[in-house]
Subunit: 340 residues, 2 copies
DNA sequence: TTGTATGCGTTATCAC
DNA sequence: GTGATAACGCATACAA
């Protein structure tokens, strides 16, 4: 089932068939064009994309590497991207790293082997090497969720530091002074930016940072659960916790539930990154909401526009603090922290 | 950056380079092999998968077509599959149909053009044509979530009818007699099987079916919301609702919240397909839990085993009814339905 | 309007 | 042990 088959059947040459099927202008006389199309249709001819890719140098495939496609944040981007890709006849190759840098490297290789035209990646570290290697092959890289030092490509981000700042400001203005913070593995710039937002937020409120209140976790629900456990076991446990992603915040919620800790009475909670069901639980969870549709749209547009002029621009989008019910003033306003 | 480049650089032929890099036995003398490998490493050579695919006829890519990759059910399958694929150096091409049959057709075509070796698809209809077309190209089809009439391939399913039966039996044994049912678009066999489970469940309890209590919806949260609205607006509204998927059940929950309907006091709810957070809301939602890890594992294994001997086997896995708090006896046990 | 020829990067078969 | 050589299916520059 190749062009040759059709050519033989219609008594023309492969080139003519190719031109007709590719809708080249004046590819053939109306009659022959018709004959060819009819034959292709009847035989159920499906062009071989690999062969075309080899010939043209355009694979018509885009790659997407994220931590976890099950995270609604990434799933939305994937879906949006893929829809816009379909219109152009592109395929989407996806890979989950689970925040594993080694896996990321291997997947970048797979993507490179498949000669994806553009590779959208949510990096798991600040290491530029494997990305640079892919770029050297002519693969266009598009970063999401975090920048990578030294990789000068377009990237779509949110203002991580400012976002967390908003959360911390909110808590301090509520009267909290013992604020716990759960970060991911701080290999990633965005996670460090978020952490900086926390530190500066405390400083702005005249609160001295306490390293015990900052837990380095791993972006997973279980990690959040454990971090909450460590935090609440402290001599002076926090009256509020900020988690640097949704899964870890969920872990905190689960820990609170399991241990009879009332939110927000005994513990306030803010999540970076919202979740659909955060307004269905009791209490509804306050979260930093990312403009996820806008991000998906932007990514799609950037992927479609092969406008390789600019040297790489960071698109920084704002988040909004969606106030719900998981934050409240601390039980013992500001001074009597010692009694814990 | 091709085999030729390396060949030139090391002063051997492309064939030798190819053999060495493919780790063919006795490909070359130890020294030359070493030279070649070193050169490849130094140049950052990445093989062109398209070219290899064209030559060998094996694309090393698997396709996955599902309704919505954001659905944890599908996301888990995707993740599991992809991990097992990575080990074999395969890529995963994904597509979301949003339950749109037309999109499904187009995506099957895209997958076919890319000559995926295996195509895993959660069908959106009972139409076998596009699938047969792909099979004719030598693409192996693997069905998940639902069978398709006339497509005799391996498929991984759960026992839909029995599952819903369990839910309905549970409700009738609680004393419910007005049980609403929200189905998806009944184009899909699995959805029809579930509906049959409902019908037979009622019959087994000696309850006469009421067509008004069955709403044909669309598998979305909004659809579930609207279906709940229609159901509760009935002259004799149901005292319990069974939704044939998780999103629609969530829609029902949302409707109940928005309208002050207490679950389970005023309305019992059971969802087909569980969700991580169903045990975090109040009330915790009773659901039919699919053996999702087992399904993912099975799919991965089937995809890996290119054992094309059997003519196509349905693997039917059992679900379990996870009893939580969203079901309770109806307020007015069995008789006083009329007062609504 | 149509056909011929060439090459994309690989792999595989055969010689040497 | 190594190297020509052909072929995979397609697109295109060029010739007719």
């Amino acid at each position: 089932m190749t062009l040759q088959t059709i050519a033989d059947l219609t008594g023309v040459s492969v080139s003519t068939v190719s031109r007709v099927l590719n809708k080249v202008d004046n590819a053939a006389s109306p009659e022959t064009a018709h004959r060819i199309e009819a034959a292709a249709e009847r035989l159920g001819y499906v062009p071989n994309a690999q062969a075309a890719a080899l010939r043209t140098g355009a694979s018509k495939v885009v790659g997407l590497i994220v931590a976890d496609i099950a995270n609604p944040f990434f799933a939305t981007i994937a879906t949006t991207l893929e829809q816009s890709l379909l219109e152009r006849g592109y395929g989407l190759l996806v890979a989950n790293t689970g925040n594993n840098t080694d896996l990321e490297r291997r997947y970048v290789t797979t993507m490179a082997q498949n000669r994806v035209e553009t590779l959208v990646v949510a990096p798991t570290s600040n290491d530029p090497r494997h990305l640079d290697e892919a770029r050297r092959l002519g693969i266009r890289i598009l970063l999401i969720d975090s920048r990578v030092d030294g990789v000068e490509v377009d990237c779509v981000l949110v203002d991580d530091e400012t976002s967390i700042r908003k959360a911390v400001d909110h808590l301090t203005s509520l009267g909290h002074r013992q604020i716990g913070y759960i970060s991911g593995h701080q290999r990633i710039l965005s996670d460090l930016d978020r952490l900086r937002g926390y530190t500066r937020g405390l400083a702005a409120a005249g609160i001295e940072g306490d390293s015990e209140l900052v837990i380095r976790s791993d972006f997973t629900e279980l990690g959040g659960f454990r971090a909450a456990a460590r935090l609440m076991a402290l001599a002076e446990p926090p009256t509020a916790i900020v988690a640097s992603n949704n899964f870890m915040a969920t872990g905190v919620l689960r820990y609170a539930r399991a241990n009879g800790i009332c939110i927000p009475e005994a513990l306030s909670l803010v999540s970076f990154d919202d979740l659909d069901w955060y307004d269905l639980v009791t209490p509804r969870i306050t979260a930093l909401t990312q403009p996820i549709e806008a991000i998906g749209k932007l990514v799609s547009d950037l992927v479609s526009n092969t406008d390789d002029t600019a040297p790489g621009v960071p698109y920084v989008l704002p988040t909004s603090l969606t106030l719900r019910d998981s934050t409240a003033p601390p039980r013992h306003p500001t001074s009597s922290d010692k009694e814990a």
